[in-house]
């Protein structure tokens, strides 16, 4: 009797542990806390950009500049979708999450690539998708958060994929949509909305991570009477754009999240006299309240569709010999902006032109405010050509910072211009329709070379020393570049982004190409790196589309040829061969 009881007790004691492992072979899910997000373990990639400061940096060094030539495919996974695959692989102790076009979130075993679960939000067949993509999940607590192309925010159980709650954030019938990865901090999940070409009034909204209750919503275009409200005429702020479609960076010391804002709407400037705050700016929002604590407008009264949505990287360094807490942003407007972040202000420190740029005639040394060449400013008078192109020196694809090399890396496009025809005199707003204000065939066919002949190179990876304001090295590509960057403690820089479907690794200090491999499709995914059971991996999604494809069409039209980049999403994970 006694023996039997003992055996039963022993079995009962051991049973729960066995159950947990038997589920998917992984250890139980470790909740993602504020502390872990502030100091993520090197083995994990918990954020869109690896850390709150937006560096796109992995401290891992097992894969390094001495052995990266031995990198080979560990496993790959077909997503079942076409179009641009942009999300990084987010990893928490062996649990990996990617998102794809088609409103999919997929959980995988980061070591083996086994699928754990899949969530696909049901999207109305009436939805039109200007940007059919998604840039990834946020992790917080025991949940995974994803925003969707029909403007919802969804919370899923990280282990099972079961939906916990879904909240509407915007109106998809008004062509509000969300592609960014949410930002998670201090119990809040924060998102913005796209729609700078559809008359959205830009905003950041924060939701309670547990309940999904909306905590605050801060609009990016102020009404009359609000601070900055006099920078818009009449009621134009209501459909003023300044949309937010890339994840913010966050400084826990000041509790401020830094968000980049998009273009003002509509495009023709005669319809919205004034600086049009806070479009084409960086804004600092208090995460508890949503209150705007500071801002810097990179360029006022935008006429070139130069969204400044990339959030600035937060880097503590010296600038002009002085220690500064900086916020650094490679602008779509073709300038590298070095700003200072404080508790309640964002100050201008310096700016460096990094691509062909013929619009700004000067930049105020104190405020950073540019002056414009009127001959390069589109409007109603006639066609105007300007450089860089509508896509700018750098579009949404993220820069990276390596604290060991102390270099700031920019994925740029140089030697490109645009020509816009005369603007429409009136641009009526109609819900669910485009709200641009230039003839659409003129916009679609706007890409130009600077001169008659095609440039020898377009895409560039530029490495800058922020303290000295000098370029350390530049790698030039004959094609355009749409490659998000990742840099590592192993002195490496990884990027895809070219129409030759290559994924490459550079020596992060010297810029020498050390490794490259041909991928199933062009790579516009954000790379990430992680470690499981002592082995380091590099992960990236291949899957060409969206604006990389749009720019390809423009380049093809100028060259009179047609480059076919195959479609099809594949998540690829690399490790060192033994």
């Amino acid at each position: 009797m006694k023996f039997k009881l003992k055996a039963i007790c022993a079995a009962t004691l051991y049973a729960p542990a066995i159950l947990a492992l038997a589920d998917n072979g992984l250890a139980s899910y470790k909740p993602v806390t504020d502390e872990r997000l502030k100091n993520p373990e090197p083995a994990n990639w918990l954020h869109y950009r690896g850390n709150y400061a937006g560096w796109g940096y992995s401290p891992l060094e097992k894969i390094n500049d001495k052995n990266v030539n031995k990198l080979r495919l560990a496993w790959s996974f077909s997503t079942g979708q076409v179009e641009g695959h942009q999300s990084p692989a987010i990893v928490n102790n062996g649990y990996m999450y990617i998102t794809t076009p088609g409103a999919q979130t997929i959980a995988l075993d980061a070591k083996t690539g086994a699928e754990l679960w899949r969530y696909k939000k049901e999207i109305s067949s009436e939805l039109l998708q200007l940007h059919p993509t998604n840039r990834g999940v946020a992790l917080y607590g025991d949940k995974v958060y994803v925003a969707t192309v029909d403007a919802h925010l969804v919370a899923l159980d990280a282990k099972t994929g079961k939906e916990v709650w879904t909240k509407p954030v915007g109106d998809w019938k008004a062509l509000q949509y969300i592609t960014l990865a949410p930002l998670a901090a201090k119990g809040k999940i924060m998102v913005g909305s796209s729609g700078g070409e559809t008359g959205v009034r830009g905003f950041v909204a924060a939701y309670d991570a547990q309940t999904g209750a909306e905590a605050w919503r801060t609009f990016m275009t102020p009404a009359p009477g609000e601070p900055g409200g006099d920078s818009w005429p009449g009621e134009m702020y209501k459909t003023g754009g300044a949309s937010i479609w890339i994840t913010g960076t966050y400084d826990p010391a000041t509790n401020l999240a830094f968000w980049g804002t998009g273009n003002p709407a509509p495009w023709p400037i005669h319809l919205r006299k004034g600086d049009n705050l806070y479009a084409t700016s960086v804004v600092a929002l208090d995460v508890d309240t949503g209150k705007m604590k500071g801002y810097h407008q990179y360029h006022q009264h935008d006429a070139w569709d130069w969204d400044e949505v990339s959030a600035p990287l937060l880097i503590d360094t010296t600038v002009k010999g002085q220690p500064r807490k900086t916020a650094v942003h490679a602008g779509r407007n073709g300038y590298l902006w070095v700003l200072e972040r404080t508790n309640d202000k964002i100050n201008f420190l310096d700016a460096h032109k990094y691509v062909l740029q013929n619009v700004f005639t000067s930049i105020d040394a104190k405020t950073g405010r540019p002056s414009y060449d009127p001959a390069k400013t589109p409007g109603t008078a006639g066609a105007v050509k300007f450089c860089p192109s509508l896509w700018g020196g750098k579009d949404w694809v993220p820069e990276a910072y390596n604290p060991k090399t102390k270099l700031f890396y920019i994925p740029a496009n140089n030697n490109l211009c645009s020509e816009l025809p005369a603007a429409d005199k009136e641009v009526p707003y109609k819900k669910g329709d485009l709200y641009i204000g230039y003839p659409i065939d003129g916009v679609l066919g706007s890409l130009r070379w600077e001169n008659k002949d095609a440039p020898k190179t377009i895409g560039e990876i530029q490495a800058w020393n922020i303290s000295t304001g000098k370029q350390a090295w530049t790698h030039k590509f004959p094609t355009h570049l749409w490659g998000p960057l990742m840099t590592t403690g192993g002195n490496l820089l990884f990027a895809g982004g070219t129409n030759d479907r290559m994924f490459r690794a550079w020596n992060a200090t010297t810029g020498k190409v050390l490794w490259e491999t041909t991928m199933p499709s062009g790579v516009t995914g954000v790379p990430s790196s992680y470690e499981v059971d002592g082995e380091q991996y590099v992960a990236v999604q291949a899957g060409w589309g969206v604006d990389a494809q749009r720019m390809q069409s423009g380049v093809d039209a100028l060259l009179g040829n047609k480059v076919q980049v195959p479609q099809g999403g594949v998540l690829t994970v690399f490790k060192l061969s033994k």
């Binding site: 079942g80 679960w117 939805l127």
Partner: protein, 190 residues
């Protein structure tokens, strides 16, 4: 890729999440389905046409209301009840006008007074196709620049769409444009 209006979709119009454990089961489900509201709202034989921004009682379009080179967005409406079939944007039409001499034999059969009707919803990602490219007699989609040749059954000439725009045959009745059949294929992506 966008969802399809799959025939085996549930008729519950409320979008619901789907958690799928197996890799193969990723079929998305739209809001429409056989017998549901959007399907009943499809253009029907004998319908007349009206501009998509109609206010008040619809007035039937005639060929003379269109100009070559200026596409017009439209919906069908029931000539008896005057109900405009615009509950789903998937049934929006784009009308283009040509000289009859430009039309080949097949195209002429579904034209009325030189006017052709097609689905206005891009077969790539459901954006509206309404921008005219005169040089190529094509319509181009503003989202991702898919180009459709309007004298060649709206076949795809460029861009990421993989399917021509579905056509809708027209006829003339008392000088009015009249729907003479159904869409040649399902409108929208998929």
């Amino acid at each position: 890729m966008n969802d399809c209006d799959c025939k085996n979709a549930p008729t519950d119009p409320t979008p619901r999440r789907r958690v799928i454990r197996l890799a193969a089961a990723g079929v998305a489900i739209g809001l429409g389905g056989i017998g549901s509201a959007p399907a009943r709202a499809a253009p029907t034989k004998d319908d007349r046409l009206v501009a998509d921004d109609v206010q008040g009682e619809p007035v039937a379009l005639r060929p003379a209301d269109l100009t070559p080179g200026k596409p017009l967005l439209a919906f069908a409406f029931d000539p008896k009840t005057k109900e405009v079939r615009n509950t789903s944007r998937l049934h929006k039409l784009v009308l283009v006008k040509f000289a009859e001499s430009e039309l080949d034999a097949e195209t002429k059969q579904r034209a009325a007074g030189g006017v052709l009707a097609y689905s206005a919803i891009c077969t790539h990602q459901a954006c509206e196709v309404k921008t005219w490219v005169a040089k190529e007699k094509a319509l181009v989609c503003f989202c991702h620049a898919s180009k459709f040749l309007m004298l060649e059954k709206a076949k795809v000439a460029d861009g990421p769409a993989s399917r021509a725009l579905p056509s809708l045959p027209l006829a003339l009745k008392e000088a009015q444009l009249v729907v003479a059949g159904t869409f040649s294929a399902k409108p929208g992506p998929g």
